[in-house]
Amino acid sequence: MKSKDDVISTIEIALELEKGSLNIDTRMGSIEQWDSLGHLSILSSLDILFDGLIGPISNISEAQSVEDILNILIENKLIDS
């Protein structure tokens, strides 16, 4: 099973940020790279990380922060709490 760190690292790569740039409190719009297009890159990269299991989770498109994303992945049993 993937970890929270794997998810955060994936988001950083999707947004072309340096490792350690994001934390659980980082919100969409708080950094230049995390705009609406950046959000699509995150969703695409997470779908690759979880082998296509992100597509069916429709409410992940509404996530507004790293914490929101992690909580949705926990709810869907894709990462441990």
């Binding site: 609406s36 699509l40 890159s41 695409s44 498109s61 509404e62």
Partner: protein, 323 residues
């Protein structure tokens, strides 16, 4: 003898005004255009002049059909797929029937669909033609989304082009079109819409403004399109190896790349033209088909899958054979 349908000709028209990424940055200096281009893949879009309407460009596409291989008097029905008609009423198809000089004995009607509209229109045309022993139908797809998009809309303006296409569908002894897989999920109707455009009025909202919830539409596409493709393959009792070319609605690079990944399709199997044409809504599949044929990616005997998806939310897929 049972009559089937086939696509005999596709013509299209792109307005002459070209909008480059440099033009977008000029209007919006704060846009990170390199990043936008990297994700959308789109370098240029075609935009109507202010005075140019959807009917104007639809006419130009239709005239190309009549310049090539069919007489006006041979057309038995006219279908216009559009979400940007000149008027809510009457249907644009009625106006086009008159201006094009088509017979008054033909059926003409509009279909209000966007990026799935060509596949829906093809299914309707196939059904009408086959059940009435007609000889020729004209399927016109036209949209001028630029009329709905504000100059600083970073979600929509980099994506959409204005365009019109005209597809001649004729009777065939062989089955060349179908089967079809169609679907609708109206729970997402607010994710892509022209706000304040019909009888509902909201004084707080600017009139006729296009809205797209990009994340929700992206997730819808990832959820629905691979399933539609697989359902169609099952229906046709074949697999992806039996399909020579996939022509998806040319939404954006990010969408097409993800569909290729999810369906495990090679680059050679998927036609792409969004880079230089943009997302032309209902005309994107017919324009792609025409360009794929010109580029010899479609030859005699080719089996091609078409997949449209978008506003509604709505989707449709079919298989066509170039016999």
């Amino acid at each position: 003898m049972k009559i089937y349908s086939k696509i005999s000709d596709i013509q299209y028209y792109l307005p002459p005004k070209l909008l480059s990424n440099e033009d977008l940055v000029f209007d919006n200096p704060d846009w990170r255009m390199d990043d936008i281009e990297k994700k959308t893949g789109i370098k240029y879009r075609y935009i109507c002049e202010d005075a140019q309407t959807s009917k104007d460009i639809a006419l130009l596409a239709c005239e190309k059909i009549f310049n090539s291989n069919v007489r006006r008097s041979d057309i038995d029905f006219l279908i216009v797929v559009t979400e940007s008609p000149e008027y809510i009423a009457p249907a644009m198809s009625c106006d086009l029937q008159n201006i094009l000089g088509l017979k008054t004995s033909i059926a003409s009607f509009d279909v209000n669909l966007g990026c799935s509209g060509f596949v829906y229109g093809l299914m309707i045309a196939d059904s009408i033609l086959c059940s009435n022993n007609y000889s020729n139908g004209l399927l016109v797809c036209v949209d001028t989304y630029s009329k709905y998009i504000s100059s600083n809309d970073r979600t929509c303006r980099p994506l959409f082009s204005d365009a019109a296409s005209a597809t001649l569908i004729t009777a065939s002894k062989k089955k060349t079109v179908g089967p079809f897989v169609l679907g609708t999920d109206g729970s997402g109707y607010k994710d892509l819409m022209v706000k304040n455009s019909g009888t509902i009025k909201n004084i707080d909202t600017e009139r006729n403004l296009y809205f797209m919830n990009g994340s929700a539409v992206f997730m819808f596409t990832m959820r629905v399109v691979p399933k539609a493709v697989n359902d169609l393959l099952i229906k046709e009792k074949c697999n992806t190896e039996d399909i020579d070319l996939f022509v998806f609605h040319q939404a954006s690079k990010l969408v097409i790349d993800n569909l290729k990944r999810l369906l495990k399709l090679s680059n050679e199997k998927v036609f792409e033209n969004y880079q230089l044409v943009g997302n032309t809504v209902s005309s994107s599949i017919p324009i792609a088909l025409s360009q794929a044929k010109s580029a010899k990616k479609i030859k005699k005997g080719s089996v091609v899958m078409l997949v449209g998806f978008g506003v509604g939310l709505s989707w449709g897929a079919t298989i066509i054979r170039y016999n």
